[in-house]
Amino acid sequence: MIETVIRKRIEILTDSALARRVTEAIDRAGITGWTITPVTSGKGRDGHWREERVMGTDKVFVLTIAPQDKAMALAEDLAPILSSHGLLLTMWDVEVIRGERF
């Protein structure tokens, strides 16, 4: 029977222009890594947008797996700019194998 441990999975939707701000915060929180996945389009209070990479207003998901405490540190770190920078942050518990890596 393999062993799994519980970690937080955090996903942050951000303008791609601001992705480096987010990944720097992840590095600051001492988390081991992150992964960026593409986003096609979306709708929020600002109305609908589409793939707008040409205009630099496209978005990406930054996701990271971290232990509870570091995840909280990251959320605290990002909280002040969530609204001003239009970030969307969700997190939940996941099971991971090889938990010592995160």
Partner: protein, 327 residues
């Protein structure tokens, strides 16, 4: 004047833009994959950079070139002030958003410039090659003025230094590619360029057609979803290209450029950035609303320039040059 305007409307380049607008307004699902659009935009910038560099390799750099660069940089620094005034008073925008929008109108739109060059060349008024360097020089100064207007001399909201920001702004993709290709054109010269002519010159106009198709689709779709742009802002988005275009044309005429370059400089001043500046604003002024600045520059000013203002500015430049309107 009518002739220039007509000239505009039988050019395939402009017709594809109109097709894009119509398709989007009719809610067709026509769309260009974003990777293709990005690729075409890189191609267009490399191609005009190269062509400009080769032209300067042939003609050399003289006082006229330096003069044009100088008024370009000055215009880019100064034009946001006019925009900001209009936006804060008539436009009723707050300080942050007014500064962000103003930066767009001081900077330039590469595709507006390229479309103008095609139309001018079609009327035997091709601008000089060094105007590409002017284009590149005008991209970024406006960003500084816009930031100062929005935020004064303080730190940015997320505590990053201005230095870091400027690094990101000045090394943005389009400036690097334009100036890099310009330098390559100067080093390789006409002979080196001859080898790549079939790709960078022969294909240029066709790629521009498809790129403008995409711009038409995006501009129209954005305006249909727009919420934040009031009629006051729409009026400003038409007034600014008229004002800036007139000022630019007069300035370029005053320093004695040829008629094609005068018109091209007028178009540069009239145009509003929708690539480099929006990206910079997301970094530097994330609180500003892209719904305002993108819709104004991309969905109002850009089509107005392509469809009408390039023709007006060309006619004005011809008039200044003492000629009648173009044949």
């Amino acid at each position: 004047m009518d002739a220039s305007v007509l000239q505009t409307f039988t050019s395939p380049v402009v017709l594809f833009f109109v097709l894009g607008l119509l398709a989007a307004f009719a809610r067709s699902d026509l769309a260009i994959p974003e990777a293709i659009a990005k690729g075409m935009s890189l191609y267009l910038m490399a191609a005009i950079g190269l062509k400009g560099g080769v032209a300067v390799a042939k003609s050399g750099i003289d006082a006229r070139v330096l003069g044009a660069l100088l008024i370009g940089i000055l215009a880019s620094f100064a034009l946001p002030l006019i925009a900001n005034l209009l936006l804060r008073t008539f436009g009723r925008l707050d300080r942050i958003n007014a500064g962000a929008v103003a930066a767009h109108y001081g900077s330039v739109s590469v595709v507006t410039y390229v479309t103008a060059v095609e139309i001018l060349t079609g009327s035997q008024m091709a601008p000089q090659g060094f105007m590409v360097a002017v284009l590149a020089a005008m991209e970024t100064p406006a960003i500084l003025t816009g930031l100062l207007l929005a935020r004064g001399l303080g730190k940015s909201s997320d505590g990053r230094s201005k230095g870091e920001l400027l690094h990101e702004v000045f090394l943005n993709a389009s400036v690097v590619l334009l100036l890099g290709a310009f330098a390559i054109g100067m080093i390789a010269g006409p002979d080196g360029f001859a080898e790549v002519t079939p790709f960078f010159e022969a294909g240029f106009k066709g790629v521009l057609c498809l790129f403008l198709l995409d711009m038409g689709l995006i501009a129209a779709r954005r305006i249909m979803d727009a919420r934040s742009v009031t009629w006051r802002l729409a009026v400003i988005a038409i007034a600014l290209p008229l004002i800036n275009g007139t000022l630019g044309t007069l300035a370029a005429h005053a320093i004695g450029l040829d008629v094609g370059s005068v018109a091209a400089f007028g178009v540069l001043c009239a145009s509003a950035s929708y690539i480099a500046v929006p990206a910079a604003m997301r970094l530097a002024l994330p609180e500003a609303d892209p719904g305002i600045y993108l819709t104004m520059s991309l969905s109002v000013t850009f089509p107005f320039n392509i469809l009408i203002n390039i023709g007006l500015i060309t006619a004005f430049a011809s008039m200044l040059a003492g000629g009648a309107a173009v044949p």
